[in-house]
């Protein structure tokens, strides 16, 4: 069950929907056995929410694995949300998940759910013509967290 977040103000929603500049970007690491490990620049909440991805340990270590892990340093993510997106509540929620010091593979799916929850909350504030972001919200609404791939 994803953590509940209060409804964002229009001002916050606007910030969360826009893309940040290059100097403010967050960098993730795309990890895949056949393709290698390469940094990926991320510019928005929606991009971060969909990029952050890791299956179960059993899936990840499965021999012949060809799937991709979307790694983001969680502490950096929390700081980025707080200082760049200026979403204190979301940053606190991420920090709370990290308090116990659990490994990335355990915490990341929960953090992703929180990010997705926020993405769904801000979706109604989006320009209805932006089909791509709408589809992102649809994915969440359908319960697709990406963990089952």
């Amino acid at each position: 069950m994803a953590r509940e977040l209060t409804t964002p103000s229009p001002e916050l929603a606007e910030r969360l929907l826009r893309e940040v500049g290059q100097a403010e970007r967050l960098t993730g690491l795309k990890m895949s056995v056949m393709g290698g490990s390469n940094p990926i620049a991320l510019y928005s909440l929606a991009q971060v929410a969909s990029f952050l991805k890791i299956g179960t340990y059993e899936q990840a270590i499965r021999a012949n694995n060809q799937e991709t892990v979307g790694y983001i340093d969680l502490k950096a993510l929390q700081i980025w949300v707080r200082e760049v997106l200026m979403d204190e509540e979301l940053a606190d929620a991420i920090a709370d998940e990290m308090v116990a010091g659990e490994p990335f593979g355990i915490v990341a799916p929960r953090v992703r759910e929180i990010l997705m929850t926020r993405a769904v909350q801000v979706a109604p504030f989006r320009d209805p013509d932006e089909g791509a972001a709408e589809a992102a919200a649809d994915g969440v609404a359908d319960g697709d967290t990406g963990d089952s791939e």
Binding site: G21, Q22, L26, T27, G28, L29, K30, M31, S32, V33, M34, G35, G36, S37, N38, P39, I40, A41, Y43, A46, Q47, S50, F51, K53, I54, Y57, E58, A60, I61, R62, A63, N64, N65, Q66, E67, T68, V69, G70, Y71, I72, D73, L74, K75, A76, M98, E102, P103, F104, G105, I106, A119, A132, A133, A135, A136, G139, V140, D144, G146, E149
Partner: protein, 690 residues
């Protein structure tokens, strides 16, 4: 003639429009595949310093004694060689490789390989039906995409698309011909053009699609009704069944997928299926004779047969735009294959262009002017527009048509962007695949060779398994102690456990020089000459094997003996690999390679290896030997030390019997390997090591 060989290499001269054969027995000492291809290239390409696009460039397309046989994960690979246009700043003799069934059909038609020389004066394709070979006009085929091209050739050869029995040469078959073709990117001589076979098999790295285009060669089609003579058929069947004990397929009644490390043992499942809409029906598919079936096909048919790497140029953008993988990624990959574009080049280009776009450097009316709308990134329409530019050479594609390294030079951004790493070219114009700063054997192997090695032998054991385990607070199935022990046993003739030491000291050591040398020799022979698939071999740690031991060392000679009848030890095969490696080295030396050109781009020395940031667990974990103990530890943040890399190169050159001052092979080294004639040519060129 030993089993597994047909005794003939088909020789096609497009300039003279002539067809003949070479005696392949002369080249049998090289095993097949790459070794045979290098030796044939050496003999037939008189001036090895010519451009890749010169009609005199010689292209070899080779099978192996294992092609079309029951040897697991070795029956369906085909090796392509020649001078490739992709490397930067110097074009290099290079290689690529593709799966499918081409090599099997080639063997069944009676050929160990095909050599293409010259260039046609108009577009042609080659029609091979057993011993009947014709060079035909490509009118009506030139201009088609890679799928359409193959379908048209099937229609011509089969007299329709049906799968009924047909007379071909002296036999009958229900099979479709295996076609190797180019798309628009190849026709326009792009350095980023791939050769495509069936739906998703591609030889991308090297730019051989552009070489086909320069030769006016649209496609080669081959169908055979013969078979491969096996020296010991029962021995081969026994070996195949024995090998299945090392894979999940031999343990179905106790099905329990084992942990990562064994590439051979992997479950026969299609990982590539993961890059599709979750609700789209899909099934695995594989290459000829393989037990793994690592590719996939989908209900929509888009991107069928592609491997996961073909999705990597775009899957993160689809996911970012749509929240999960959608039909967009399948359609984008389908377009990539139809244009015949190297996926690694497309991936690097998009990472780089996206960064430039966000930096305000690339965009409508900006320093790098483009009509691409990056707000549409993630949609299949954006992908198709971008790929069309690459294939046809307009807009940003005017530069990217030449590959990312050439584009960076054209735009005046090479130095700045490889220094910062936003254009992650590792060396020789090839983009980073695995990080040279952490998984150094990958980087070093690429540095002293011709291309991104793309050989995963150690990758899953030294990087992936420990790094993923760390992200879950777990330990890999194969401990660092066990890994060092197994490698000490298996990496003959060096047998040095310290080869697994990726510590800050270990990466510059004599032991690391041995590891890189072992890897170069093993892959040149077993993987690229005997065509054993990178996605299955070598087999070092295997959870199904006795005490975690995989088949490498025992499996390779077992299969070789069963197929050929030749009782060759594993070490003898490694020595053949060393011979092939030195022959390749000699070709590069003639093309201008020397010690000074073997340097990484600046970011490898000046920017720490970080996954973005380093405050949480970091996925850069490798085996290290410290204070007398083995453990997996993080190498995050590491930069390579220029002086120490130079010292390592001296150790490596010395180990290989090359001149440390120049990196050129010495006469005694070449003569010891039976390459005295190569030493003569190097000496005549003034490039023999002292």
């Amino acid at each position: 003639m030993a089993g597994g060989y047909t005794g003939k290499i088909l020789r096609i001269d497009l300039t003279k429009k002539s067809v003949s054969t070479l005696d392949s027995e002369k080249y049998q000492e090289y095993g097949g595949g790459h070794g045979m291809g290098s030796a044939v290239f050496w003999d037939l390409c008189e001036d090895k310093t010519i451009s890749a696009f010169d009609p005199k460039n010689v292209i070899t397309i080779m099978g192996s004694p294992f092609s079309g046989t029951l040897v697991p994960a070795a029956s369906g690979r085909t090796e392509v060689q020649g001078i490739g246009p992709q490397a930067w700043p110097d074009e290099l003799f290079t290689r690529s490789n593709f799966g499918g069934r081409f090599s099997g059909q080639m063997k069944w038609a009676g050929y160990d390989g095909i050599v293409v020389e010259g260039a046609a004066d108009e577009p042609v394709w080659v029609d091979i039906r057993d011993d009947k070979v014709e060079i035909k006009s490509a009118e009506g085929i030139w201009g088609l995409d890679t799928t359409e091209s193959q379908e048209e050739i099937w229609r011509i050869v089969q007299g329709g698309i049906g799968d009924e029995w047909r007379e071909v040469g002296k036999g009958r078959t229900t099979q479709r011909p295996a076609v190797l073709t180019i798309g628009k990117a190849g026709e326009t001589k792009s350095r980023a053009a791939a050769l495509i076979h069936d739906a998703g098999n591609g030889a991308g790295q090297g730019g051989f699609g552009g070489v086909f285009g320069a030769k006016n060669l649209k496609a080669i089609s081959v169908i055979g009704t013969g078979s491969v003579e096996i020296a010991d058929p029962k021995g081969l069947m026994d070996a195949r069944l024995w090998s299945m004990d090392y894979s999940v397929g031999g343990h179905l009644t106790e099905y329990e997928p084992k942990g990562m490390g064994s590439m051979f043992g992997g479950a026969p499942a299609s990982g590539a299926a993961g890059y599709a809409p979750a609700d789209q029906p899909k099934s695995p598919m594989g290459c000829l004779g393989c037990h793994k079936n690592c590719r996939s096909r989908f209900e929509s048919a888009a991107s069928n047969g592609s491997s996961c790497v073909d999705y990597f140029f775009y899957h993160v953008y689809d996911q970012a735009a749509h929240g999960s993988y959608t039909q967009h990624i399948l359609d984008a990959t389908e377009a990539l294959q139809r244009y015949g574009i190297n996926s690694y080049q497309a991936e690097a280009a998009l990472i780089w262009l996206n960064n430039l776009s966000k930096a305000g450097i690339l965009g409508p009316g900006l320093e790098i002017d483009t009509k691409l709308d990056f707000t549409k990134l993630g949609t299949s329409d954006f992908a198709k527009e971008f790929l069309d530019m690459m294939a046809n050479g307009y807009d940003v594609g005017e530069a990217l048509h030449e590959g990312v390294a050439y584009a960076a030079e054209k735009w005046g951004r090479y130095e700045e962007d490889t220094k910062s790493g936003i254009l992650p070219i590792q060396c020789h114009g090839y983009v980073q695949h695995y990080d040279a700063r952490t998984e150094v054997e990958w980087g070093y192997g690429s540095l002293v060779g011709d291309r991104d090695i793309n050989e995963h032998d150690f990758n899953t054991l030294v990087f992936w398994a420990p790094s993923i385990a760390t992200l879950f607070g777990a330990q890999p199935d194969c401990s660092a102690d066990q890994l060092a022990e197994i490698m000490g046993e298996k990496l003959s003739p060096y047998n040095d456990p310290m080869m697994m030491d990726y510590s800050d000291e270990g990466i510059y050591s004599e032991s690391m020089a041995k590891l890189v040398a072992w890897h170069r020799h093993y892959t040149r022979y077993y993987k690229q000459s005997l065509a054993m698939c990178d996605w299955a071999w070598g087999d070092f740690f295997n959870a199904y094997g006795p005490e975690g031991r995989g088949m490498t060392g025992e499996g390779e000679p077992k299969f070789y003996k069963a197929v050929t009848g030749i009782d060759q030890s594993f070490e003898e095969g490694m020595e053949t690999g060393r011979k092939i490696w030195n022959l390749d080295r000699a070709i590069w030396i003639l093309q201008g390679r020397d010690r000074d050109k073997e340097v990484f781009t600046d970011y490898n020395y000046e920017v720490g290896a970080v996954p973005g940031y380093t405050t949480y667990e970091v996925p850069y974990v490798v085996p290290m030997h410290k204070d007398g103990k083995w453990s997996y530890e993080s190498a995050v943040g590491r930069m390579l030390d220029r002086d120490k890399v130079e010292e390592w190169k001296t150790k490596f050159y010395t180990l290989e019997g090359w001149d440390p001052a120049t990196g050129w092979p010495k006469r005694e080294t070449l003569e010891e390997l039976g390459l005295g004639h190569v030493a003569d040519d190097l000496e005549a060129a003034g490039k023999l090591g002292k």
